[in-house]
Structure formats: C-alpha cells, structure tokens
C-alpha cells in the first residue's frame, strides 16, 4: 500500500518535473543516449553434426552519445573483451582497413535492428555504408577461395556461386564456371538499388576522391582486448544515399571480427582457407599491407557468421541545419557575431523557431567587431562579442554573458610506430608565437629565408616542443610549421595574441631574443604589436626554386602559402577531422595550355604520420571530438634550455578548467564585460587560458519596444533554458560551461538577467554615476527637471541591486518613519487606552472595596 502510494507520488513528481523542466521542449532531451551492451560472440567450426566452438568472447561495447547527432559529429566508440587484433594497418579507414586480422568493424547503416519493424526499415548489409567496392563485393573468386561459401551460418542461397543477389547483374560481368561471386548491393534512402560491384555502380558519394574521406573503419583491439575510436557519423547532408536524418533512423554497427564460422565443404582448399586463424602476432603492425588470412579479416563483415555477431547502436540525428528555414516562414531575427557561439546556436535555433510564442532566432557568423558596428548602427538587434568594444554613437550598450566557451588549439598528431594518436599535447605561449610568426622554415625552401637558416623546419623538430611532448617523431612536415589560423578579425585572435604578449618567454621571443636553443623569430614579425584582433601575413620572402611547376607559381610568398589562413573556424575543424592541412604545397599540371601548372592544397595526411594543428572553437572541438592541446598556465622568465615540462603547469579545456577561469574573472561595471584576460587567468593554475565569455551586446536606449523585448527575451532564455547541457533542441552542447544561478558562473548569470531587464526596459543608464539618475526620471523636455526626491524628511540611501557593481542610477530609497509607524502606533494607542480606562477604574474600585 505504502509502496504503491510512493510509486504514484514518484510518478506524479516525474510528470510535474518533466512538464515544468521541459518548457514545451520534448522531455529527456538532455539525455545524450549513452549506449552500453554486452554479449557473447563466437566462432564455430561445424563438421556434420559436430560443432566446435573455436573462440568465444564476451564483448562489451560502449558509445558515449548517440542522440541528436549532427553531420560529421564524432562519437566515442569503445569496447572491451574483444579478440586482440593483429597486423595493424596504418590507416584503418575504408578499404585500407581490410588487411588486418581480428579488427572491429564500425560502420554506419540505415535502419534499426528491430524484428518488429518492416523489412524496409530494418538494417541489413545492403543499407550499410562502405566507401569502396572491395568492402562489399567479391568476384570472380576461384571457388576454392570463396570463404563465404563455407560459412556455417549462410543460407543456402548465399552458399551458391552467386550470392547476395538472385542473378549477377549485367554491370558485374557474367558468371563463369569455377568462380564465385558475391554482390552486397547498396540500397539508398530513396530506394534506389546500386549494384555495387564496380566503381561505376557504387553510389555517388563513394566515388574516388569523394568530398569526404571514408568514415567506416576496421579498428584495432589492443592486447588487453580493449579498443577505442572516434567514429564520424554522416547525415543526409554529407551522404544523401545513406540518407540519415531526423526522420530516418540509423544505427552504428559494430562487428568484432571473430573469423568466419566454417562448415565442412567438398573442397579441401576451401575448408583450409576458411579455418585459418591468422598469421600475424597479436598487437603487431602490417605497415606495408601484406596479405592477411581473409577468414579473420574484415572482408567478410557481411557474411552471416560475422554479421550475427554485430552490435547495433541506434543513433538519432538532430534537426537539419535548415529546419528553421523550412518550417518557419516568419522573418528571422538575426543576431550576428562570434563563431564561438555557432555550435550552441545551431542547437538553440529550433527551440525558438519551432515555437509560435517565440521568435525565429538566427545566428549569422561575422567578426566580432563588424557585428558590434552593425548593432550600433541599428542594423541588427544584438551582437555576440567576447570583449568590450568601442562605442561609436551615444547609445549606451550593455553586454549580457550568454555562453562560457573559448578557443582550443586542436590537433591530430600520430605517435610513431603505429602506436595510435597522441592525446596529451602540451603547448606554451612561445610555441604558439613561433607557429604564428612563421618562424619555422617548413622545408629547404624556407631555409633560404634570411633569419630562418638555423631554425627547426617544423614544430616537432623544436627542442622546446620535444621537451614538453616527449616521444613524438621529428620528421619535418610543411604543415607542422604553421598553425591553421583565421584570416578574419576575431576576439579569439585577440585573446590568443594577448596570451602570447603577456607571457615573458613568448614576449621576449617576439621582441627578437632567441629562445634557449637559439631559434629566432622570423624577422618579418619581429616586434609585432600584440595583442591584435587580426593576424597579418607579413612575410614576403620568395625562395629560389628550380622545379618548373613551382617556378610558374612563385608569386605568393612561401611561408604565406604554408599558413594559408581561412575565413572560419568551421573550416579549420573540418581540416582537422580530415587531417588535411591548408598549406598550398601541391604543384601539379603539365605546363601546357590545357594542363597548366597549378599550385593547390596538399593531400590529406596519411593516418600514422599525421601532424597538424589549428585554432578551433571549443564547441567545434567537442562536437567533432577533436583533440585539444593543454596550454601552459603559468609564466616563467626566459632562461636556460629545458628538457622536461617540470615547473610548468598546463590546463586542457574542460568544465573544471573553464570554471576555474571564470572564477578569475573580475566584474568591471554594471552591464559591461568582465575582465577575463591572460593577466587574470594566470592567477589560477587550473584556469584554461583559452576561456572566453561570449556576450550578447545590445543597446539600452533607442531600440523600439518590440526589438528590445526580443533581445531581452533571448538573453533570458539563453541564460536559463538554453544552459541545460544536452544534445536536444534548445540545450547546451559540449564545449560550453553552463551558466548557472550558483557556482562559478553565478555572477555571470546575475549580470545577464540585469542586462536583460535593462535592455527590455531601455533604461539607457549612462556611465556617469549618480548624475541625477536617482529617484524619478529625467525628461527630454527642458522644463521638466529630473524628479529627484531628495527629501530632507526622507533618509535617502542608495542601494545597488548588485552589490558587486557600482550603482549607476539605482532608485533612491525614500522612507518616512511617520508614514511607516503612525497607523500601527495609533491602533496600539487606541487599544491600550481603551483597555486601560476600564482597568484603572476596576483597580481603583477594588481598592476602595477593601
């Protein structure tokens, strides 16, 4: 009885909580959908009635988040208990991963693994994406090598010479005797069937040199049975044939390859091939792509004995980026500004536009300064900026803290000897300065540059970098001589250059003092003014080249070609996902009119020897699961050469280090940005130096009522509802520290609410403290003086709403003791006297009686 009542109460509570908490948004959107599954996978050899289990493993697969994914988002897939892999390929993606033994195949498939669904909505090998024919189809293969035909679990149909299809499609050639064929066709989201047995019959997204590199991989399990990879999902935007979107459910399929389960066939050769158990030692590498035992490779992932061992992880996609354009016909309210916001606003926008009672919010990325100017000119209602801007007009402007995020130095660095990716890169301000000032020579061409003769060719050859990050290779790469950077002006560049300018070692280097190992700054950048919002390309050196192709394209300075800055952080994030540096180093063409010599972007770096760094937003880094470097948080005087990171403290971006950074922020004035710069950040060793607060800057006077209310509303929603961490519409993605009522961000929250109400009410408080702003109201009419109740009878005292901020125009308190106490006192007096009169009489009478 009691338990039942409790249950009912709990249910009620849950209902109330969900209705209150969600505020119209679908409940449980903060659930990121972590996946965990454990199951036993086996490999069996069957001989007549004899059934021998060769290998049995209990594998656990975990996926960190699966809900509301966006295109190119990367999820962490990890597993344990799998059979250790062997013959590790350098590049596990696409067909390059085929030559490995016992890998774990991870791929994206359309549909769900649910027997209750109709056939078309279920996932099957035909809806699983692969980038090449080799991963899907085989043939012609001599019968003796057609291992899939010996699959103990294969249907009779799959056991035939032509399997996967009823009859070999014309495009795949004609079936010949003695040969076997396998065709795993691909069915697109629109229902079109691709024969997928040759390059020409693959879906268009699988074309050679497609715009996106393969995402599916045959991942490597360590000797301990564990493995972990970032798996990139593709939405309809990136892969229309696969066609995963909000309405089309998809899954990530994880198949720990155990090897094909074999039955006894007539062919001894086939039986032998099928029963092979691998020729590489556990944990070994297969650099040169030597042949492996196909039976235990990922080639036959589609064969029933592998397919039945699959884990299927249901994933859902968030709304398409254009959902607001499609579903909302209202005119958008465009906030312009910092790209730091873009991952958050991508999730926020549908929470505005899909609600009739809200407005259609839109974020257009524009440099901070430009958007602030637009806001000042009343072109846009609000601007996202990260620092105090110079006011152009007379209109007072306030800044509402809207997000705590920042920039990251993201990287892809492979450890030597096929040991996987480096995950703990550490950088200090001087290394950043060296990269930005193009002080690494890059190659022999750069060595010709006066002043760079003795400098290392690239970052990984720098003894300073080696001291902080031991154990990496020192092969020179042109891409590792620079940091992929932004060409536009941005508060991120200001913050980054300020971090350099306030570090004594880095500042000394910029001023021309060689580092302890003798490396000097590129003379073109010596004594450059820091901090600055835009990073200039100052180097004009053109090397002497001999190659015809380079000679024809030697107009652009060499180091500028390496730096090749771009216009958005999103492009840098994309380049990092693909490990594809921007450096314009690839020269091609024949020098003829038809094929002139052209200089273009170099190739993607090969997995295993990648080394590329770029500035990204923390939002992008989290969304795309990019690795982010820890930055040095203390500063030292320039000194002797060092060989370890001793004495230096570093902080990588995470919620704790961002909270520590916010903790160092100092309020300035009511409604103005907090002081959060390299100077304050270094007061806390745990504080991540790349932390930035993004503010919504808006005018507090001169806005029309409608706009003022919209901006105020946005600030309020953005700092409350939109600060709930989660992957759903209106939630805060990873890479942002939630602004909460309590804790490190409490001040920011309060300040935001204050600004919201100032903007809504267009108080237009000017920054002149106490100038007639107390009490009532100034007036534009000259004959109406400010209503300043400076009453002598009143004990006026000025109280600020926020004790941390200066009181600028707070209402003065006017009180009156008489007004406050007269009535209660009179009532008391009346009651007192009214009672005392009879009582006096009574007492006197009793006295008289005695």
């Amino acid at each position: 009885m009691r338990a039942r009542r409790l249950a009912v109460l709990a249910l009620l509570g849950a209902v109330v909580a969900s209705t209150v908490g969600s505020g119209g948004v679908v409940a449980a959107n903060d659930d990121v959908g972590a996946f965990h599954q454990k199951r036993t996978v086996t490999r069996e050899f069957v001989d007549g009635d004899e059934r021998e289990t060769v290998d049995r493993r209990t594998v656990t697969v975990d996926v960190d988040h699966t809900k509301n994914l966006r295109g190119r988002e990367r999820v962490q897939v990890s597993w344990s208990g799998a059979r250790p892999s062997a013959g590790r390929a350098v590049n596990p993606f696409g067909e390059n991963g085929l030559d490995q033994e016992y890998p774990v195949v991870i791929m994206q498939c359309r549909g769900r693994d649910d027997a209750s669904l109709p056939e078309a909505k279920r996932l099957r090998p035909e809806t699983c994406w692969t980038s090449t024919v080799q991963q899907r189809s085989r043939g012609p293969v001599p019968d003796g090598s057609a291992i899939w035909r010996a699959d103990a679990f294969a249907t009779t149909r799959d056991g035939g010479p032509v399997s996967g299809v009823d009859a070999l499609p014309k495009a795949c050639g004609t079936a010949a005797n003695g040969f076997s064929y396998r065709d795993t066709r691909f069915v697109s989201a629109k229902g079109k069937t691709f024969d997928a047995c040759s390059e020409g019959t693959m879906p268009p997204e699988a074309a050679v040199d497609a715009s996106f590199p393969p995402a599916e991989q045959a991942a490597f399990t360590g000797r301990d049975g564990k493995g972990q990879v970032s798996f990139e999902v593709r939405s309809r935007v990136e892969n229309e044939s696969l066609g995963c979107d909000q309405a089309t459910p998809c899954s990530i399929v994880v198949i720990p390859i155990m090897g094909v389960s074999c039955k006894a066939t007539d062919s001894r050769v086939l039986n032998g091939a099928c029963r092979r158990k691998g020729q590489f030692a556990e944990g070994s590498s297969n650099y040169d792509g030597r042949g492996v035992d196909d039976a235990v490779s990922s080639r036959f992932w589609w064969s029933e004995s592998n397919w039945r061992n699959r884990f299927s992880v249901p994933i859902t996609f968030g709304p398409a980026p254009n959902v607001c354009d499609v579903l909302d016909t209202r005119a958008p309210v465009g906030f312009y500004g910092s790209e730091l916001m873009s991952q958050a606003t991508q999730q926020w926008a549908p929470a505005y536009c899909l609600r009739k009672d809200r407005f259609r919010f839109q974020h257009n990325v524009l440099p901070d300064n430009a958007s602030f100017d637009l806001m000042q000119k009343d072109e846009i209602p609000g601007a996202f900026v990260s620092s105090l801007k110079k006011r152009e007009g007379a209109a007072p402007t306030e800044y509402a803290p809207t997000a705590v995020t920042g920039f990251a130095i993201s990287y892809v660095v492979d450890k030597p000897d096929n040991a996987g990716e480096e995950t703990n890169l550490r950088l200090d301000a001087r290394l950043l300065a060296k990269l930005l000032t193009q002080s690494y020579a890059g190659s022999a061409l750069g060595r010709q540059h006066p002043g760079l003769e003795d400098n290392p060719l690239s970052l990984n050859q720098d003894p300073e970098f080696k001291a902080l990050n031991p154990g990496l290779d020192d092969r020179s790469r042109e891409s590792a001589a620079v940091l992929m950077n932004l060409s536009e002006s941005s508060d991120v560049i200001s913050a980054m250059t300020q971090y350099i300018a306030t570090d004594r070692e880095a500042a000394a280097f910029v001023a021309g003092k060689p580092d302890p190992w003798g490396m000097t700054i590129n003379p073109s950048y010596r004594d450059i003014d820091l901090p600055r919002a835009e990073w200039p390309l100052l180097d004009t050196f053109r090397p002497k080249v001999e190659q015809q192709c380079l000679l024809a394209n030697n107009d652009t300075p060499y180091l500028t070609r390496l730096a090749a800055p771009v216009t958005s952080f999103a492009k840098i994030a994309d380049a990092l996902i693909d490990a594809w540096p921007f450096a314009q180093t690839k020269c091609s063409g024949l020098g003829t009119d038809q094929f002139p010599f052209v200089l273009g972007r170099g190739d993607r770096q090969g997995v295993g020897s990648r080394l590329v760094l770029g500035v990204t937003t923390l939002g992008d880094a989290a969304r795309f699961d990019l690795r982010t470097a820890a930055l040095q948080t203390n500063e030292l005087a320039p000194g002797k050469p060092f060989t370890s990171a001793a004495g230096r403290s570093f902080a990588a971006p995470d919620d704790a280090s961002m909270a520590a950074a916010v903790g160092t922020a100092k309020p300035t004035r009511r409604g103005l940005p907090y002081t959060l710069d390299a100077g304050t950040l270094r007061t806390d060793k745990r504080a991540y130096p790349g932390t930035l607060v993004v503010y919504t800057a808006a005018k507090t006077s001169g806005l029309d009522r409608r706009t003022a209310r919209t901006v105020g509303r946005f600030i309020r929603i953005a700092t409350t509802e939109n600060q709930r961490p989660g992957s759903g519409n209106g939630y805060l993605p990873q890479g942002y520290l939630p602004i909460r009522r309590t804790g490190a961000t409490a001040d920011l929250f309060r300040s935001a609410q204050q600004v919201a109400s100032d903007v809504e009410r267009q108080v237009g408080a000017t920054a002149t403290p106490g100038a007639g702003a107390s009490g009532g109201a100034g007036a534009s009419a000259p004959e109406a003086p400010a209503d300043a109740p400076t009453d002598k009878a009143a004990n006026g005292s000025t109280k600020a709403t926020d004790d941390q901020l200066e009181s600028l125009g707070a209402t003065r308190s006017v009180t009156s003791v008489l007004g406050g106490w007269a009535v209660p006192l009179l009532v008391l007096l009346a009651i007192g006297c009214g009672l005392a009169a009879p009582v006096t009489r009574l007492l006197a009478a009793r006295k008289a009686l005695r």
């Binding site: 107390s774 007036a779 534009s780 209503d787 707070a810 209402t811 009214g834 009489r841 009478a845």
Partner: protein, 306 residues
C-alpha cells in the same frame, strides 16, 4: 435584581460578586482615579476618531472631493478652459486619469502637498502635464483617504492607463513598479512621454498598515505626445516632495483646537443650564465639525503619499 440572581448562580460566584461590588462601588471612587480613567478613555476615543478619519471617513471625504472636482473639471473641459500647461493654481483639477480595466477613475489636481492629496492624486508642479512629451509625475495615496494608488501596486503592470487633459486623450501603458535599488530609466527620447506615479508601500509584518517607503510606478506614453505648454514652475516647496508633511497648517490647527476647547467648555456650561438633551442636540454637530476639521488639519502633517 436580575444581575443579582444571575450572579448568584454557577461556580464563578466569588468573582462575580466582586464585579457587582465594583459596579456598586464606582460612585465612591477617589476622584484621581476617575480622572485618569476618563482621560485615558478620551485619548482612546480621539485616537479612534483619528484612525477612523484616516482610513474610513477620509474615503468619504475623497469621494466627495472627487465628485466635486469631476464636476469642475468636466465643466472646464467643456468650456475649453482646462489647463494645458504653464503655471496652474495649486488645487485646480488638471487631468482625469483612469484605468478602465481596474475600475479606477480619479481627477488629478495640481500640487502634491499633503493637503492636495487628501482629495485625490496630485500632479507634481515642476513636471509636464500628463499626456505631454517628457516625464509627468503624479503623487497619490496608497493607504489613507480613499487609497487611490493602492491598486497601482497590485495587478496594474501591463494595463492601459488613460488620461484626459485640456489637450485631449492620451494612453499610457503601465510598465513596471520601481522600488529602491531598481535602475532608473533614461530620459525618454525626443517626443516621447512617460508618467511616474509616486506612492508608498510597506514591508515586513503588517505591511499594509506601514506604508513607509516610496515606490514608483512607471508608465510609458503609447499615444502621440502633446507639446508641453508654457513655462512650468521651476521650484517646489519641500512639502511637495514625496513623503513630506505640510507644516504650514500648524497655525490653523492651533486655532481649530482652540475653537474645539471653547466648544467643549461651552458644552459643560450649557449642560448645567439647559440639561443634557438640549445641550447635546446643539453641541454634537459643532463639536463633530470642529473635530473633523481638526483631524483633517492634523493629517496635513502626515506624509503626503501615505
């Protein structure tokens, strides 16, 4: 007899007897005690009268003034003589203010001293008239004398407030209640209008009876602003500021109290001569009128927006 029989019953007999004894003994009490008791009773009666005048009779007075002012103002509007600016004689009606959705309608008089506010809201003389461009400031009581501005503090935000002046009809929207510490709005832009209603409220226990703190209710002009007309008064007396009393009534109060004293002495003398019935018939209206007048004057000393 009946008291005796009632008193002789029941368990509380001893006490009851003493009560009866007291009743019988009253005539033999010492004069000092009688005097003290009577004095206390008189103080109590006066206080209750004062309270009643403040909280109850004041409401009647407010209603009556409003009735009279409405008549005057209506005539002035009809004649086109209602003030449109410049220096307006204190006490003259300047505007008719109403919040239809709250059922409030008040004639606003010029001047904000305690006495002017007895009859209804007052317009601060150094600000523009309601409906004109700029900030117009009105004071009103929240607790006493019909409490015209009490409703402004409850449930008024967001409602429309209409004002009729000699220049025409204007509509304001009540935006917010501004309390000490809240930010003050910037001056309205050129050609915009705002109205600030000044009144008082209490805090803590018995808040309703302790209106010791000034609050401001901001309303923004929604209709087109009228041109401010003529030179306004550029200075106001300290008695016209919020929470100020008006000490200028003290001489009048002294005279009235003197009159009251004369009346009382007259009553005592007349009672000996004409007997109680005639005396009280004649004296009650005189004493009541003088008492009312004295109470009114005493209330001038009270803060104006209470």
């Amino acid at each position: 007899m009946s008291i005796m029989s009632w008193a002789s019953r029941g368990p509380g007999r001893r006490r009851d007897r003493s009560l009866v004894a007291v009743a019988q003994a009253t005539d033999e009490l010492p004069e000092r005690s009688v005097l003290l008791s009577s004095a206390l009773a008189v103080v109590s009666v006066i206080t209750i009268w004062f309270l009643a005048q403040m909280l109850v009779l004041g409401g009647l007075e407010h209603e009556r003034s409003q009735d009279r002012l409405y008549g005057d103002f209506r005539a002035e509007l009809a004649d086109g003589t209602a003030p449109t600016g410049g220096v307006v004689a204190p006490g003259r009606p300047v505007a008719l203010m109403s919040v239809p959705s709250l059922g409030i309608q008040e004639v606003v008089v010029e001047g904000t001293s305690s006495g002017h506010l007895l009859g209804g809201p007052g317009h601060r003389r150094d600000t523009v008239l309601p409906g004109q461009a700029g900030v117009s400031v009105l004071y009103g009581r929240s607790t006493t004398f019909g409490r015209p501005f009490d409703a402004m503090l409850h449930d008024a935000v967001g409602r429309h407030l209409q004002v009729v002046t000699g220049q025409g009809r204007s509509t304001y929207r009540i935006e917010r209640i501004r309390r000490p510490g809240d930010p003050v709005a910037a001056p309205p832009a050129e050609g915009q209008g705002r109205m600030t209603l000044v009144t008082s409220e209490g805090s803590g226990p018995l808040a309703a009876l302790r209106p010791g703190r000034v609050v401001y209710v901001e309303a923004s002009l929604q209709s087109k602003a009228f041109a401010p007309g003529g030179q306004r008064v550029n200075t106001i007396a300290s008695s016209e500021r919020p929470m100020a009393g008006d000490a200028s009534v003290l001489p009048m109060l002294a005279l009235t109290l003197g009159g009251l004293l004369v009346a009382v002495v007259g009553v005592v003398l007349a009672r000996r001569r004409f007997g109680p019935l005639v005396t009280w018939t004649l004296a009650v209206p005189v004493v009541a009128a003088l008492g009312w007048f004295a109470g009114d004057l005493a209330l001038h000393l009270f803060p104006n927006v209470v």
